[in-house]
Symmetry: D2
């Protein structure tokens, strides 16, 4: 299989580092450039000593980001940049015909208005929103194969969308009143030198943050609305917990059909099982747990899998779904590479198993 040349703009954060790791081990790509303003001139091995035993890490040096040069060097470019900054690079790269896989939120929304509402500034390239595809392969596989601009989903959204979309599409749950309560590891906050994320401020600490209107709500609701074919507004509470990696999301859903007996619950359970099987039984990176098993972030850490389990509560009539994923893999770098595999014609799981 022909090797693709790829680059990462913004490779010194946690998502960037995960991309570096996965791409250095990917059999069909050559990582030809990594950029980082603060680390320009240093080798990958110097910045990330853990990669030092891979020969490539001794050769490849961080450079200042330069879209034009990168467009000449690489056929596909990953953007692991803050919101707002990513678009600046996407525009010239797309113009130059590069495949762009953007891990920021810049191209995840279809609506520039929603972008302005949630990100508090004008969208930097509204004309590109039409050309971008939301990079959730389990939902947009065919579109991803053809798009030049893939907007890889956020970590929280992935953990919420994968378990919810099939249920909404099948009409098994009501589109109103959805609650997503999420717990995230601290890499989710990025490699920022801020007191709030110091070891001693996070260790032996648990806290909610960003209540009640987190930016990720915009892409979650846009995608859920598409699945439900009606506008969906959800409640979302993110929490910070003292682990490096992992997101656990507990979803509270209202089944469309009422059940009040074990028999009724059994029938509904069967429908949910069928719905998830139809959606995911052939998906390599979605694991629907059965029996007594419940998700545990340690079972998905360092993997591209999102796993989930559900329970019907006879007492309250609710459906509870709990999902787990690695925020840096299925929630960031791994999912981006899954999209790259699709876009480049590689087997979808290449470099991710």
């Amino acid at each position: 299989m022909k090797t693709k040349k790829v680059a990462i703009i913004g490779a010194s954060g946690y998502s960037g580092e995960e991309l570096v790791k996965l791409l250095l081990h990917h059999p069909h790509v050559e990582l030809v450039a990594v950029t980082s303003r603060q680390n320009a001139g240093q080798t990958l091995a110097q910045v990330f000593p853990k990669f030092a035993s891979l020969p490539q890490s001794q050769l490849l040096r961080f450079t200042e980001p330069n879209a034009e040069r990168l467009a000449r060097q690489a056929e596909a470019v990953f953007l692991a940049l803050p919101h707002g900054v990513a678009a600046e690079y996407a525009i010239p790269l797309i113009a130059a015909g590069c495949i762009v896989i953007d891990l920021s939120a810049d191209f995840r929304l279809k609506s520039a208005e929603t972008y302005r509402e949630f990100y508090a500034h004008e969208h930097p390239a509204p004309e590109l929103l039409k050309r971008s595809v939301y990079g959730l392969p389990e939902v947009y596989r065919e579109e991803i194969k053809k798009s030049l601009l893939i907007a890889s989903p956020g970590c929280y959204p992935t953990s919420i969308l994968l378990p919810t979309i099939p249920l909404l599409q099948a009409g098994l749950v009501k589109p109103h009143g959805i609650i997503a309560d999420s717990l995230s590891g601290v890499t989710g906050a990025g490699r920022k030198p801020e007191v709030d994320y110091l070891f001693c401020e996070c260790n032996e600490s648990v806290r909610a943050y960003g209540l009640p209107k987190h930016r990720h709500l915009s892409e979650i609701e846009e995608q859920l609305s598409l699945a439900a074919a009606v506008p969906v507004t959800i409640q979302f509470t993110p929490h910070l917990i003292p682990v490096n990696r992992g997101i656990l999301t507990t979803l509270y859903l209202a089944p469309a059909e009422h059940f009040s007996t074990a028999v009724g619950a059994g029938a509904l359970n069967a429908k949910i099982a069928d719905c998830y099987a139809a959606a995911y039984q052939d998906e390599p990176f979605v694991r629907v747990l059965t029996g007594k098993a419940l998700p545990d972030t340690k079972n998905v850490t360092d993997s591209n899998v999102c796993e989930f389990a559900w329970r019907l509560d006879l007492r309250t009539g609710r459906l509870i779904v709990v999902s787990a994923e690695d925020n840096l893999v299925k929630g960031a770098g791994g999912q981006a590479i899954q999209s790259m595999n699709l876009r480049c014609g590689f087997p979808e799981t290449t470099g991710l198993l």
Copy 2:
């Protein structure tokens, strides 16, 4: 002030250890007995090296539990025993006129039937249920002062009841549809040598458990129903997170009055603030956060405080309340001592600030 002689039955678990620590420092009590089958014969200092610098820890030895002997030794006895076992000791101690402060679930319910439903066996002493008081001082202060049998609340219930009861009593939130999503430190699982609670199974792990019908629901719902004056059924999801201590609970509530504008939310916020102020402004161990502050378990660890904050969500119309407490202090030993202080006529905060 006259010193009371106190004893702890079951002093080798995490709650028992916390009681030991607090009682050894309490100025008005003398800890005269601690029991533990497995540690009988050893001094407190041998079992808990951290207390070795306190002279009392070198003198006091663990004994086998014997209710009759303890009834002669102590005026007040704490039971830090598993559910079902506590009642065996409570019966003779009460008969002998001892004050019993039970940290198990055995006497927290008024209904023996509910006990049977949730604990899967007949209640061992249903006649005592009438005599027991639910040991939540902020709600049952006067009753605690007079009761011989104080059923100290569970850790999850405390974190849910304190923020919710005043709102229900004031009719500010609907009694239906309440969701409590709780995160607990691992001491909550007890000092049990099970693989699930090994360091390497909990560290870098987050998981829900016991879905959907946790035993603590019974006491939570009984108390909420009393507050609302209608039967209340709630959704409760406990999670295990890698900290030693602390519970963070996120509550999803439906305001009784609809609001859809910032003005409406402002008015409702004022009512909630008034409601909480009326309930808690003079409470030494409840801290209602204002401004941008959100609870963090590290701010209540090693203290008897339950702190919480709320947010109205204009988009969903919901009220979100987040509470934090130390599961071993306000959620166990500290709260038990708060009740003891009330019952014995000591200032309520003695030994707890």
Copy 3:
């Protein structure tokens, strides 16, 4: 007992925060001022929400540090400032007759030359070095009672000096070839927003640092030399481990007398036991473990105790001593208050048990 008015300059770091906590609970002092450039104007409760339930925390506001004003407000002033900065405040405070308890390294050395060698700048007030006392109460109790300038020891030094000084004084170990291998919790690095101390950089990480010439060596060696009455040079390796609090030091010592049999080891063990008993049996904050027990940082966390145990190794002829302390208490704030108690005529353990 008459209350003393005290102040803390630099109260927003971890040591400062520990001082605040201990002083707010101290029965014989009134905390009248806390300073912090970045937090000036805010109350203690705003900066440290965990103290919000203490009334004093709502009243006391951080101010800009001003030595003259503080000298009028307080009788004793704690300096929790970086090396080099502390001296600036000590000079006018001493001149004004305040008791100064300095937690920095500025006055711990007797030799201004050694200071220059290890801290790479001229000592800012060499004339004060003569007037300062090294604030290790177990060694300098009488001097502390009389000095206006108490240089409270560093966290690593305390963990090394307490177990070693009596052995050197008694001639039981050789003054040459001492190795101290220390493991420190991350609060030891201070509340600095640097990438190296982010949660995700420290969690699941262990590393040595600052090899081979750590600044604390200067005070350790000066004190050991005094104890041995010959110049002592030691090997010291600090490591950073993922806990908030605690230092564990493993000391490798050469007994002065050779032993090669169990009988010989038994005799030497008896001498060591006697030596430690003579030094510490009445010390409230030193705990010499016996039997099979070995130190564990969790047994000294949140206490002012330094505990240690020793083993003779028949195979190598060495004496191994392992010590544990809380770096923020016996290694910083607690020890400083122990000195304050001595200096102010309070019982030495006041506020520390």
Copy 4:
């Protein structure tokens, strides 16, 4: 390349689980059997949910261990069993012509007498000691290629031997007075349900253990003695630290030649650098750090690399070497597979990069 059929006896502990993970991803082996008394009958996916997305994990079931059956099924068998138990299986497997890679201590020593001294029972198969090879590929590569019985080294020994052996062989350090101070993650204690290894007993805790005569000393000293060509006795202190994985070892060594000036240190540094380069510059799994870098367990976690750095201390004349490895990979499963690769004629790094 022809695929080898392999089996793991004792696959439910942490080392066994790591072997499973590495072997499921190894391109040249087929994992045909895994045994575990307690999990017999269950699939790999049931016991280790994290592997559930690999098809093999759904098919392969744990069985009771049966050496005869395994000898028919597999060409190479890994023993991840406790000391003493491993030999029972090794004897019939060797007799049947299987390659045996033993992760226990049973065949690491050449001397049955030393085994008895350190393991407190007679060696169960002394005649096999002659046929076994110490499975440290960097030292015994050629022997490993030919042996039927490979005794894979312990985690502590690997971290000590790799940095020390070349220095002893080259005569650069004295064989006497060596000290190894090691810090280990909690997986090193195994998946044993004991109170000492519960999350809450290890988290926020650091402790030494097993002083002063740890069993691993026997193999360390045997190997160092071979390298030095004189008997070597070392000081070794293991500590337990709250991380899942990783060992950090700090070694205190005495250079054979005295140095007391920067020039002398420079010359010696050059010799050490040459010595390590000669030993390891082509080794894929040894990383000698240069410049200011010091080892950090997080840089070797989940890799088969042992990395180390050294410093000469002009003040003490000592050489300090700090090494880091993942105790479950280079310290257990990874190293065992490295040996398997050598023995089976696969490229040495297969499945390990």
